[in-house]
């Protein structure tokens, strides 16, 4: 009935077609010889929901065989190696595709087609060729993607990229053809800080696009434009429509330093406050600005900034930003319900561990710092459940359950004057459901840090002996609704 009434122009309680069920994730395991390999798809309850016949292969005498359109099948051992899940996941450079790809927090952001691999709901793998690796989209211009704050259950389904003074739409994350483009320079009120867009965020609820202009390097001079439109960027046919229907344009300019301006991550909160976070030396920085419509007199940082720049409060060590390569830019991703987000970089050199600002997307003034200091046997982090993330661990599962760093937030708490409760797991069920009335959670005052905690999943790693499971994102979690195994019950 709801669909019919919507068609007839009545109430609009139809489900957004972009809305997905609760997150799925993939877990690859093999024997290190490319002979026993399996790839499982799990839902947010850690139940296996993959197709039973989607196993890649099982052969004792040769490399994987038999699965149609297996992108890895065409590679020899030296390309994808004998051990997609067996590498020591150490401190290797991007030139070693396996080590970089398998281990890295750089591999994931909020976009469903994650940088170097994406996996379908049925377990069909996508991995790109390692050839021309450093000329691929993500390595060169992945940092130009617009960071989106979207409704519950929605991930970006269109890819908008902002560079110079042009907003472009591209097809996914490949260097193929541009879909659309618009030079918005005539709408800018201030160009004194430089003409390179270096960090852009969009809030669909408020139809607000916020972008920083500076240079694509280390300049400390920044101009921030706040464009509000009556048209939703994700709904327009041509980008020009968004700018043709602006209801407000404001800007402010100021001076601050980050590692490289390509690392700026702009997060536009529902309340009009905007968080800007970025890698800064081996650490990170975060600041919040009031980007509500304030009037023409608010053109300085001092007139907009809430508090001061906040340095990351967790443990840091040598780790890389865009200065060391375009692929090392700072990432953003959100929980399924769109109430919390992570601005994240790895802890260690090329990708292991995690340093992250966890930000409330209703009110970016509310944030805490999360830290995980692994230097090997790592994995990316992915959304899980309604309001959480998990990942970060690929340690040997021989005689062990596969473990993961899972944590989640209160979606209703956006008060930056109060503590933030962060739930975490443990090594047995009684930890999670204790006899006492205490939650298994940290209570963090605003802006402080905690280290993440491993939890047992109860899942086999996927092979009876040495095995380091490889965690992947899934590019479509299934349509939202009770007919889907990833529904989750909300």
């Amino acid at each position: 009935m709801s669909n019919l009434s919507t068609i007839l122009g009545g109430s609009s309680d139809a489900v957004d077609p972009r809305k997905e069920g609760l997150p799925l994730f993939g877990l690859w395991a093999d024997d290190g010889m490319n002979q026993h390999a399996n790839f499982r798809i799990y839902n947010s309850s850690y139940s296996n929901v993959g197709a039973p016949w989607a196993a890649v292969s099982n052969s004792t005498t040769s490399y994987r065989f038999g699965m149609l359109a297996d992108p890895v099948h065409s590679y020899n051992m030296s390309d994808y190696g004998s051990s997609l899940s067996q590498g020591q996941l150490g401190s290797n450079a991007y030139s070693d595709w396996q080590q970089y790809g398998k281990s890295s927090a750089y591999m994931i952001d909020q976009y469903p087609d994650t940088p170097y691999y994406s996996v379908s709901k049925s377990g069909h793998i996508q991995w790109n060729s390692k050839h021309q690796y450093t000329s691929q989209f993500e390595w060169v211009v992945g940092w130009t993607k617009v960071n989106m704050v979207l409704p519950e259950g929605v991930r970006p389904r269109r890819t908008f990229c902002n560079r110079s003074t042009a907003l472009r739409e591209v097809a996914g994350t490949t260097p193929t053809s541009q879909v659309d483009g618009y030079n918005y320079a005539s709408h800018m009120l201030y160009t004194g800080s430089g003409s390179s867009a270096v960090g852009t965020g969009y809030n669909e609820k408020t139809k607000t696009l916020v972008m920083i202009h500076s240079n694509e390097g280390g300049s400390s001079s920044h101009g921030v434009h706040i464009f509000k439109s009556s048209k939703d960027l994700n709904s327009v046919t041509r980008i020009k429509e968004f700018f043709d229907n602006l209801t407000s344009t404001e800007y402010f300019e100021g001076s601050w330093t980050v590692g490289n301006n390509k690392d700026n991550v702009v997060v536009v909160g529902n309340n009009g406050y905007v968080g800007i976070g970025a890698k800064y030396s081996n650490s990170m920085r975060y600041a919040v600005f009031n980007c509500n419509v304030l009037g023409s007199g608010y053109t300085t940082t001092a007139s907009r900034q809430s508090g001061s720049w906040h340095d990351f409060q967790g443990s840091t060590t040598t780790s890389y930003c865009s200065d060391q390569g375009g692929g090392y830019y700072t990432r953003f991703q959100t929980t399924w319900d769109g109430t919390w987000g992570l601005i994240q970089t790895p802890y260690y050199y090329y990708g292991q561990g995690l340093c992250a600002y966890a930000i409330n997307l209703e009110n970016p003034r509310k944030f805490v710092n999360l830290n995980q200091t692994k230097t090997s046997y790592s994995n990316p982090y992915v959304p899980i459940g309604r309001t959480g993330f998990m990942g970060g661990n690929s340690s040997n599962t021989d005689s062990e359950t596969w473990q993961t760093y899972e944590f989640s937030f209160d979606p209703t708490d956006s008060d930056h004057n109060g503590n933030t409760e962060v739930f975490y797991g443990g090594t047995d069920g009684s930890h999670v459901v204790p006899q006492s009335t205490n939650n298994r959670s940290w209570s963090l005052s605003n802006g402080t840090n905690t280290s993440l905690q491993l939890g047992y999943t109860g899942l086999t790693g996927g092979y009876y002996s040495t095995c380091y499971p490889f965690l992947t994102n899934v590019n479509w979690w299934g349509a939202y609704g009770s007919a889907d195994s990833s529904y989750g019950g909300k």
């Binding site: 024997d31 290190g32 010889m33 002979q35 004792t60 005498t61 004998s82 051990s83 067996q86 590498g87 020591q88 150490g90 401190s91 290797n92 409060q313 967790g314 443990s315 840091t316 060590t317 040598t318 802890y347 260690y348 050199y349 710092n369 830290n371 200091t373 230097t375 090997s376 940290w442 209570s443 963090l444 005052s445 402080t448 840090n449 905690t450 280290s451 905690q453 002996s465 040495t466």
Partner: protein
């Protein structure tokens, strides 16, 4: 200098506000560590509260390089174990 570790002995933070909060909530341990050592080389023995420095005496560059060598050595030894197991399986089914 002061550093805070998790109860498992992993480096957590050098900052007092966050570290003291961890200690207060029972999730962190405060310890004195040597100056000038990157945190990835630091760990704490949770039983004795003794601080360990990986690759002690080495520069950061040398320590990082040595870690890579050590990681690859572990990888190679696992590879050997797997090859032996594979050979045994093939022999058993021949």
């Amino acid at each position: 200098m002061i550093y805070y570790f998790t109860n498992g002995g992993e480096p957590a933070t050098p900052f007092a506000l966050s570290g003291d909060q961890m200690v207060e909530q029972g999730t962190g341990i405060k310890a004195e560590v040597p100056e000038g050592i990157e945190s990835w080389r630091l760990s704490l023995d949770p039983d004795t509260n003794a601080v360990n420095v990986a690759y002690e005496g080495m520069t950061e560059e040398d320590a990082h390089a040595q870690k890579l060598i050590d990681d690859l050595a572990v990888q190679a030894s696992l590879e050997e174990v797997r090859k032996e197991a594979q050979a045994e399986r093939e022999a058993a089914t021949a």
